[in-house]
Symmetry: D2
Subunit: 324 residues, 4 copies
């Protein structure tokens, strides 16, 4: 068993377009129910993340479907980034009507979560940022963001709010850019139901070491959720887990064990050109292998090497333990 | 007069979507003719770039429209990146049928160019690359790319082929990544009608100094076309010219004057959230200002400072000459 | 008058070596007193930053020299990075003796500051980080860092401690990497004498917008000191202010005026190959020009454009107001 | 046997300073002879790279030492970057006297190589570049660089000249930045004794895929030498081979086997803080393991997967074959 379990969103079944191929690299003929059935059939996956209201509005029928399939909704993502309405921001928008809609949507999403038996929603304010120098009043943007989260958090205490950070894309700069920006907000708010979602690739994009970010969030009791994927450090390539940065991915899993992470291990991949099922399979197999290895390695030896900051010793140990 | 003139593609009138907002940030209710009429109405713009066959198939009616508007087609871009068909490459595709289609399309585009009175087509093999380590046979990919360009170049000598390089996006790695990769191909081919299109932002993404790339391409007689825009160096943000990197943008224009560039100054911007007309206006005004400044500054003084590698002297001179 | 004044460290008079030219690109024949006399002679500079104990141990004679020259010590930097002793960290070191030395040195530096009439010391824990994955225990490192700063802050309340962050160099990863990592520490400590030093180039390296970082630090009442310089975003090139990123540098000064910054504007440049005096002069002239421009522009218009997130309007306004 | 053998420079025995710790992180009490003796004692290392004239001037005694130790000089690096004399460039210098000295030094180095029974020298024009926009005349710089290499190459045909590229450091921009920039020079010169040295880390810094660079250089018959190390893609961290980018490092070795590379596998690491001998050992063990794995894996299967651009299949295959 890996934390609360392995989880998945439906994104890998989407057309996965980009700005040059907006219609995407594949067809998406399946309904949400069909996608969920496929996920349930994978065997390894216990949880799903759903996008609200992009994927569903009414929680009742979905609850039934999930129950029938033996799947658990582990997170509902509030869709605050996928329409032109949010182009200048949602939570930080200077347009009061737009911002109110965003807050209301998040609150409704919390209610839907409760109805679904889901304990958590997530906010990724990806449009809340700026593109050009001097385009926004940073003070205003920060106040509005913090206040919006406060208001959402107060809507109900029984649902957690995981805030996902990212340094850029789709804006050239996003306000909630790094793990510590979100931790700062959570400390200021002091709301027990507000925490951090760490997306491994987002951490890498910000030149964070993912494991260090895990430790920091965990130290403040704020590590709510993990999104797994990989990239070349400079962009959110959303690639197969461990397919670029093997050692840091392993370190992330090792540290998650160390801090006693009890949340979900959720894949957040965007397979533009790859076959949905095969790419999910490859991810699951890598995740399981690395977590199992993290449990197998000699903790005492690693801790001892770390005490001496012994980079060579660690590198040799990892080579011997992980490589055939 | 700026080289052959200022030019524009129709992209700023597109919905300009991204992977999160695939339908784009604006409506696109206008026909190609309407867009061209708007461009003609700008006053400053003499040339247009068209995408073939995405924007038109039959050159005859377009030729008439352009003539009526007093616009010149300065470049036809072969659409080798905008459909899932090319997802594993066009010119370098291991699928012979796909690759043949790409070559045939480029040849047809040359014919369309001739019919339009346009002297040049461009190839941007943006899908010709790879995402994962070990995904492709680089030798095969290189041979196929070079051979495809050779075949296209041989189709007819009276149309130039400008090859546009880019280091990544939409693939995590694109084969024709840098100015010198394209120059290497042109030297190997030895075809007089094959040259380089420098996109200022693509140069920046590759940590090239745009002006240096201009000089290199020009030295080999291969600088065929300029695409103008700006970004934060790490991604192809396609922003307003000079809005991020003022000094290097100015240097690019100064060097284009120095090498006696006689081609088009073409805007290649992607205004996701900005008003099409206003953003074009802002670009044109900046381009004109910087070229005019480049013509105004004291060349002798700059050359003298460069002789001594005098960074401080240059920085002071630029501050005094460019800033109010 | 610019805040408390323009300030300078003696670094530009150093040999300024790198790993390939460790002896540096110039001779350094001058004593500290001679350097200070040169600085005093510049006219524009009112404050100096000194490195303790690298540049002096006994505050008494230096106090006299400064007084005689009419200079004010605006900051004392504790040298916690310049000897192999700190190679695995100072404040976070797992070696208790090394860490105690670091803390003691910082406390002694505070005393020296008091003796010099200097209100502030700075800590830049540049060796406190890691190079390889899994090399350190992040939790330990964080606790030790926070506790060390707490201990130093408690030494005396009358001296401020400005903590300078940087994402890398000389380690491949430094723990105190971003503005919000330091703000998090300051919030946790709750010590009124602990705040942030923002080095403009360090902010750029972390893909921060410097102005946004200024606003955040200021919002928490923690903006203690500004280090000015510029770079190409990917490394701490320590170049002439505004020589690469003109717009964001201007924005930084504009925002510093907006938040009512009352601290020092201190140059932190590292002119490997440039003449010390000329490079300082070029920096001072750029700083003055940009601050004066920031005071001249029409605040109301900017605020109005920001209200609409009007990137085009801002870009046009800046072009018209700043460029000749 | 790995190509011509495994090789090493003496750099790991240096103090390995940086700009903050110019005296370095360790003592360097050993003579060149002592270092060579240690290298000979390693067992696995057959070749050494020496720096001329930094490490020796007279080849006669060194030849004797090497012979006695059973070591072969596999490359002599011309020291064109380690003194302030070259601060504005060596091969491209606008100062004719400086440039002549550089050329003369390279020619003398070729003679020393011949006397040592060494077949190759290398040029790394690391100071030949620029820091600020508009600081240099790129056309001049390019002509001077190409002409200098032509002159050196003509000095004698029996010694090869391997040109090492790097995109930056110590300059913010180095002219010979990428593999294709050097290939362009070699094609223009048409001199059979001029080729490319690929430093794996330098390739990564330029966002090159090292294996692709190997294939390109090899295709033009210009792959003269390999420098092995690793980094975080953004800087020349000169870390243990494979310690960051395992998959791409493996791919590099696999491709070197594919192209039939017959040169040296030379470590180019810079262990600031690590024990010299231990870090060399860790490197050698990783290099041997990865080359042996490259020889073990099923070439037919990989080639088949590459024919289909099957990223998932390759990722799964590598996971199964390389990871325990």
């Amino acid at each position: 068993m890996y934390g609360k379990g392995l989880a998945l969103a439906c994104v890998p079944f989407y057309p996965c377009g980009d700005r040059f191929v907006p219609r995407g690299y594949r067809e998406d003929p399946h309904t949400l129910e069909q996608k969920l059935a496929v996920i349930a059939g994978l065997g390894d996956v216990a949880g799903v993340e759903l996008s609200y209201p992009a994927e569903f509005e009414d929680p009742v029928p979905i609850a039934k479907v999930l129950k029938g399939l033996g799947l658990k909704a582990c997170n509902l993502e509030v869709e605050l980034f996928g329409s032109s309405k949010w182009k200048y921001g949602a939570l930080s928008s200077r347009d009061d009507a737009v911002r109110s809609d965003a807050i209301r949507l998040a609150c409704r999403c919390m209610d839907a979560a409760a109805d679904l038996g889901c304990e958590q929603i997530s906010l990724w304010p990806g449009q809340d940022g700026f593109d050009y120098p001097m385009q926004v009043d940073y003070r205003e943007a920060w106040e509005r963001t913090v206040d919006a989260i406060r208001e959402i958090a107060a809507h109900r205490q029984d649902i957690r709010i995981a805030i996902e950070y990212k340094i850029k894309e789709p804006r050239t700069h996003i306000h909630l850019a790094t793990v510590c920006k979100v931790l700062l907000v959570t400390l200021e708010l002091g709301a027990s139901n507000v925490g951090v979602m760490i997306d491994a690739g987002h951490a890498l994009m910000a030149y964070e070491n993912v494991a260090e970010s895990v430790v920091l969030a965990s130290r403040y009791g704020k590590l709510f959720h993990m999104h797994l994927n990989d990239n070349y450090r400079l962009w959110d390539d959303d690639m197969i887990v461990g397919s670029v940065n093997l050692w840091e991915t392993f370190e992330m899993f090792w540290v998650l064990e160390e801090v006693g992470y009890q949340g979900w291990y959720s894949l957040d991949i965007f397979p533009y050109r790859e076959d949905s099922l095969r790419v999910i399979r490859a991810n699951l197999d890598m995740v399981k292998k690395l977590i199992n290895t993290a449990r197998r390695v000699d903790r005492t030896r690693i801790v001892d090497l770390q005490r001496k900051s012994d980079a060579v010793g660690i590198a040799e140990y990892l080579r011997e333990e992980l490589l055939k």
